[in-house]
């Protein structure tokens, strides 16, 4: 008997889809900022941009209650173990977003004799969405979240989902 790895044995069809839809529409990020990008992340949650519109505005301080880790800023080598640990503390299913150039690749700080930073979050934890910018504007972050939702549901968020169905 052959099963493809990563595929569940039993597909629960509609139920799974509904669950994914719920997950996509309720992405609770971790209150966790590393550097400059954290400010833009805060701005995204604040009045003008309001991440809460998409259900992603519930910033939880404890990793145990989060779905989404937004790596907002440079990961220093000193910080890297803590980031990994936080990621490990999050309950599955969980997603990671690399926000800003530093988290994507080390950004402006990466050069031959750089000794202090980890050039890219994906070197230590799996990243689902990359949001470029230095720092990315809040709109970009929102776009990143929308893309992540698409990735989760394979179709997009609720409105798109409905349109696609209909």
């Amino acid at each position: 008997m052959e099963t493809k790895t990563g595929e569940p044995l039993i597909h629960l069809g509609v139920l799974e889809e509904a669950l994914n839809l719920a997950r996509a529409n309720s992405l609770w990020p971790l209150t966790f900022g590393l550097a400059c990008c954290a400010i833009e992340m805060m701005a995204a949650g604040a009045a003008r941009f309001d991440l809460d519109r998409f259900g992603a505005g519930v910033f939880r301080p404890s990793p145990r209650q989060c779905d989404l880790m937004i790596v907002a800023g440079t990961i220093s080598k000193k910080m890297a173990p803590a980031v990994v640990r936080l990621y490990e503390q999050m309950p599955a299913p969980k997603w990671v977003m690399a926000m800003g150039n530093c988290a994507i690749s080390g950004g402006p700080f990466y050069y031959p004799t750089q000794y202090a930073i980890v050039p890219g979050a994906d070197l230590i934890i799996p990243v689902d969405v990359y949001v470029p910018g230095c720092p990315p504007r809040p709109e970009t972050l929102i776009e990143g979240i929308l893309i992540l939702e698409e990735k989760i549901t394979k179709r997009g968020r609720l409105r798109k989902f409905r349109d696609a169905k209909g």
């Binding site: 000193k78 031959p112 004799t113 000794y115």
Partner: protein, 148 residues
């Protein structure tokens, strides 16, 4: 004038140099050069004149270090730069008991340059992880470390 007072106060210490600085060019009102052993006395004199330690760092001159202390005052515009030449592999007396604020500055210099400070209460790495084995601001760091 604070500058004159300081000159007076530093006179008995037999420092290498106590001279007026060129504020327009360097931003200093007073330039001082001292030997490592004299530094605590200089700091004491500075504290007595109500100056605060504005900044402290080292410069790696390849063959030796140049330690630079900047003092300034809240009451009057008067910045004093104290240069202390220090040979490689030599230690430096701490002034953290005079200026508690110097504690972190000295730890930083220890961290980045590897300069040891005598009698420092808590001399361990400040910015880099505890287990790091290099001092990045040494001029030969790039050569030895290579790429990462």
């Amino acid at each position: 004038m604070l500058k004159d007072n300081l000159t007076k106060a530093l006179a008995p210490l037999n420092l290498e140099k106590v001279a007026e600085g060129d504020y327009a060019k360097t931003g200093y009102h007073l330039e001082v050069a001292a030997l490592p052993a004299q530094l605590p006395d200089v700091a004491q004199a500075m504290l007595a004149a109500d100056c605060f330690l504005e900044s402290f760092t080292a410069v790696d001159l390849n063959e030796a270090f140049d330690l630079v202390y900047h003092f300034a005052s809240f009451d009057e515009l008067c910045r004093t730069a104290v240069h202390v030449p220090l040979g490689k592999k030599k230690g430096m007396p701490t002034i953290s008991h005079i200026y508690p604020g110097a504690d972190w500055y000295e730890r930083e210099v220890f961290d980045l340059f590897g300069i040891h400070f005598f009698n420092h209460p808590n001399l361990k790495r400040l910015l880099l992880p505890e287990d790091a084995d290099f001092h990045p601001l040494l001029k030969d760091f790039g050569a030895s470390q290579g790429n990462d």
